[in-house]
């Protein structure tokens, strides 16, 4: 690179959402340039590395070497550590893998490159180009030099930090209650159970949870998310996590070998993700599931739709927001209802007391659910503690 240039589709950010978009746009014939500000795709990892697997086929991802562990299920621990187990039988393929996230991200970038996209590292977007109110590319910086990349379609896939949307005037700002601040240690010599991803709810992590995702026997990602609006002092997320570890002998004896952090949006879906000449995808479009904090799947699912629409727009020579509505509609049909429901459920969860959590998990002991959903869980709780579900009537 090094000088001004043109492409059909400029993808900013080579995370899962960007790579998926680049791959599907290239596959459908568009000339694609994907830029990534880091020098290595996927690294450093900012992720718990847990994901479901039922969606992989839909977006054309084949299981690969990036899978560390295939778990049988998830366990939800109430504040008094009563356990509710969600296994494959009633969660279907919702439970899944613990992955090597950097390997996963690299594989997706390889898939994009093999589909014909050009991938350029150590290259950051520093602003967008606008003409007559339309986005027509970006200003990018590489090795200290700044130049322009012009493209009829620009994709903001720049993750949680998400500048592209804001530069274009799309409101993506988050309220304090719409973000969890996260910290995670990779720990060895811990008593994790390799069959389960574990979630600990309640005061241990206000507005979020503590997770233990096993990477191998004795090796796990132990992390926490706390709602920013519930943070009172500096470094509180770390203090909560350290306190949780100290209280659990099976983890207190462990050794930390890695530490990562980051922000996770737990907001309702954005009202707008397209503008003339541009689309937002993945964390940049606040597509993380507000209940689980998982964003890999949604970013990939929306990325495929985004790439396909980008290629069609190039072919039709029409990058107007009106044309790009096909993406706005497409991802909403696929994801929005669940995002919205899970946001409502999360809002409620943030308000309930530890004693209520205990009751909910207690009510679920021995209950067989055919399918895991907020609705089914509440129905089961309703039978034992109708007073608990009173507040949740909207979901029943």
């Amino acid at each position: 690179m090094g000088q001004d240039r043109r492409t059909d589709v400029l993808v900013i950010g080579a995370g899962p959402a960007g790579s998926m978009t680049a791959k599907w746009a290239a596959k459908h014939g568009a000339k694609v340039l994907m830029i990534e500000k880091r020098q290595e795709i996927g690294s450093p990892v900012r992720c718990g590395e847990g994901m479901s697997k039922e969606w992989l086929g839909e977006v054309g991802i084949k299981p690969g070497k990036w899978i560390n562990v295939e778990v049988e299920g998830a366990r939800i621990f109430s504040p008094s550590e009563k356990v509710f187990e969600i296994n494959e039988k009633h969660a279907g393929n919702e439970v899944g893998y613990v992955v090597e996230r950097d390997g996963f991200d690299k594989q997706l970038a390889i898939d994009a490159a093999n589909a014909g996209a050009e991938v350029v590292l150590k290259t950051a977007a520093v602003g967008i180009l606008k003409e007559n109110g339309k986005v027509v590319g970006a200003r990018v910086k590489q090795f200290g030099e700044t130049f322009e990349v012009r493209a009829p379609i620009t994709i903001g896939a720049d993750g949680f930090e998400s500048q592209v949307g804001r530069w274009a005037g799309i409101p993506t700002n988050l309220a304090l209650k719409d973000m969890d601040t996260c910290l995670q240690y990779r720990m060895t010599n811990v008593d994790c159970d390799i069959r389960y991803c574990d979630f600990f709810l309640g005061k241990v992590a206000p507005g979020g949870y503590v997770w233990v995702f096993p990477k191998d026997e004795g090796l796990a990602n132990v992390g926490i998310g706390v709602q920013v609006s519930q943070i009172k002092t500096m470094a509180e997320a770390r203090n909560y996590l350290d306190a949780w570890i100290a209280k659990h002998p099976g983890y207190a004896k462990g050794k930390k070998i890695d530490m990562v952090g980051g922000g996770v949006s737990i907001s309702p879906p954005l009202k707008q993700t397209v503008a003339d000449g541009m689309m937002l995808v993945g964390d940049a479009a606040r597509m993380i599931d507000p209940l689980t904090g998982g964003g890999i799947a949604n970013g990939c699912i929306a990325g495929k739709i985004c790439g396909e629409v980008a290629a069609r727009a190039v072919e039709a020579n029409d990058a107007s927001a009106a044309f790009l509505q096909a993406y706005e509609k497409g991802w909403r049909v696929r994801l929005e209802e669940k995002l919205y429901r899970n946001w409502l459920a999360k809002e409620k969860l943030c308000t309930i007391q530890d004693a209520t959590f205990d009751k909910i998990v207690d009510a679920l002991q021995g209950v067989k659910l055919d399918k895991l959903s907020v609705h089914n869980i509440l129905k089961a709780v309703h039978e034992k503690y109708p007073e608990v579900t009173k507040e949740f009537e909207a979901f029943l």
Binding site: E161, M179, M234, G261
Partner: protein, 63 residues
Amino acid sequence: MPSKKSLHIESSGQLCIYCGACVGICPLNCIYLDETRITFDEKICTRCEICVKACPVGAIEIG
């Protein structure tokens, strides 16, 4: 004009883990992260302290 409080991001790596949490939440979009370099725009920043809360490790201090 009353002088603003000072904001300090411990960015040498002793505390900051370059996670980007502060970048994503800053309402004025004035924190910049480039691999292991983090800076903020002194003039735009209103010292709202939101980033202080969002930082998981306490690397940002306002005094």
